[in-house]
Amino acid sequence: MSDLRELYQEVILDHHRRPRHFGPLPGANHHAEGLNPLCGDHLTVHVDVEDGVIKDVSFEGAGCAISRASASLMTDAVKGKRVEEAEEMLEEFRQMITSGADGPVEAGLGKLGVLCGVREYPSRVKCASLAWHTLHAALESETETVTVTTE
């Protein structure tokens, strides 16, 4: 049970129960839809980018505690950041959750570090990365909603 607590840390359970920036985002100019065909998880990310800065961001959809908490933590982390900074965080996050059990956790990831327990659960890595892949697709898109999948 102790290692389960490492996966489901209080912060994760809290973001799962009370997701931040959850819902539509009027005025958003970038959107993407993310699908995990493995489990049917489905989320949409809305971003309002102005002058290369993520002025606001939100997400909607259904998913497990890991995917929901990851999306919620992500919105907290990237709001107010420059697009390039968000892309760098995405890369650091990806490395954290796909590295071995003893891999480094970049200090720059801050609170996102609580999701590092996922790397012990190979079947759950995609749950944690779905929001970030979707954010990436949204930032790359223009006005159309694009769809990404984890497969």
Partner: protein, 424 residues
């Protein structure tokens, strides 16, 4: 016979009226059940995904490779004769298992999915015209939905979908209404993999035949858990997978009435499916070789035959009753946990329990249960149209086999209680 009459019910079990099943002796036949995961004895409740294998199956496969391995048909040497005998012997075992009239009505394929694709390609496609209809149900696994969707898209035909009640039972009145002079085929699951509903297949076939419409039955979840008699059902095609039937992966069966399969064109070309080949003309072999191009999964067929022989050695009616009793008991225990909803309340249900929790997503349930040593399946179970109908993205599913015990159902319930504790 492994079934013994035993007085009284096992501890924690509901009052069992049927004969008790000697599970302890059955379990000794399945070596993997001795495994521990995360320091706990494995509780394997993912049998609808794939069943575990008795030692007899593992030994038969190993023995084939150790002693008789050779390619089948046309070999004049001893080993090839032995391998051919074993492969055709497996076909005879399947004929007996399904009570088909003739062995040539049994075609070996990779699994139920391939069996259905074979019928979609070689039976439905040449027949379908624009506006023709194929009837499927909302309960279908993607493997009995997507091949028909593909055939419909290629030909301009349409799929009609039989709806269900909230309990998860097919609406036979609606089904009857959907049958028309445009219906070319009915494709229906025998047992729902997601909800466990046992469909009234004989009645479904009777109603279709009254209008001259043939019926394919997807038996992937039925063949392992109940007696199947294709002549009594009178279905035209029946598909099942070896690996869910306590046999190996890579082998499955398509049963088809000879009068339907004889005129069907082959769907794959290659060795073993011809009677003669010249530069100008190919003549195809007769059934069943016509549908078995290339070297088949010989060892898989041998393993499947061993699984069938194993099943023939147990009291299958008692096994089915035991599985259903386990599932009903698990449903009762799970329903006692606040926030748990069991989905699918059909009157006729197999050993499958699908449930959701208000506090936790099925994937989180699955991860917590895994660490408690309990293996279940979580997700959409390849039934996305059904998930939409139920209004859930996914479910957690415990599926029982005759080697499971009431103590294991208790461990399932205890692990779900832990989920409740963690997620509130």
């Amino acid at each position: 016979m492994r079934v013994v009459a035993r007085a009284g019910a096992p501890a924690g079990a509901p009052g069992l009226q049927q004969r008790a099943f000697d599970v302890a002796s059955i379990r000794r036949d399945f070596p993997i059940l001795e495994r521990h995961v995360y320091g706990q004895p494995l509780v394997y409740l993912d049998n609808a995904a794939t069943a575990q294998k008795p030692r007899a199956v593992i030994d038969a496969i190993s023995n084939f490779y150790l002693v008789s391995n050779a390619n089948i048909h046309r070999g004049v040497h001893r080993l090839s004769e032995e391998a051919t005998g074993a492969y055709e012997g497996a076909r005879a075992a399947v004929r007996r298992f399904l009570n088909a009239r003739e062995a040539r009505e049994i075609v070996f394929v990779r699994g139920a999915t391939e069996a259905i694709n074979l019928v979609a390609q070689a039976y439905a496609r040449p027949l379908l015209r624009p506006d023709d209809e194929i009837v499927v149900s909302i309960l279908e696994h993607h493997s009995n939905f997507v091949p028909w969707k593909m055939a419909a898209e290629a030909t301009g035909a349409r799929l009609r979908v039989v709806p269900m009640t909230d309990a998860g039972e097919l609406r036979l009145d609606e089904y009857e209404r959907l049958l028309s002079d445009r219906t070319r085929l009915v494709a229906i699951g025998h047992v729902s993999n997601a909800l466990g509903t046992v469909n009234p297949v004989a009645e479904i076939v009777r109603l279709a035949h009254a209008r001259g419409v043939p019926v394919l039955v997807d038996g992937a979840q039925a063949a392992p858990h109940m007696r199947v008699d294709v002549q009594a059902l009178d279905c035209d095609f029946y598909a099942f997978s070896g690996h869910k039937t306590f046999g190996p992966t890579g082998i499955g069966v398509l049963y088809g009435k000879a009068e339907l399969m004889d005129p069907m064109p082959p769907w794959q070309g290659g060795g073993d499916m011809i009677s003669s080949v010249t530069l100008d003309e190919v003549r195809y072999a007769a059934l069943p070789a016509k549908f078995e191009a290339g070297t088949p999964d010989i060892a898989g067929a041998v393993g499947l035959a061993a699984a069938i022989e194993y099943l023939e050695g147990i009291d299958r009616d008692a096994a089915s009753a035991h599985e259903a009793a386990l599932a009903r008991y698990a449903e009762k225990r799970l329903s006692e946990i606040a926030g748990v909803t069991v989905l699918g309340r059909a009157a006729q249900k197999a050993g499958i329990v699908s449930f959701v929790m208000s506090a936790a997503h099925p994937h989180d349930i699955g991860t917590v249960l895994d660490r408690e040593g309990v293996a279940i399946r979580t997700g959409h179970h390849c039934c996305q149209p059904l998930m939409h109908r139920l209004g859930v993205p996914a479910t957690a599913r415990a599926s029982f086999a005759f080697y499971n015990t009431f103590e294991e159902a208790d461990r399932l319930a205890a692990a779900v209680a832990r989920v409740k504790e963690m997620f509130g």
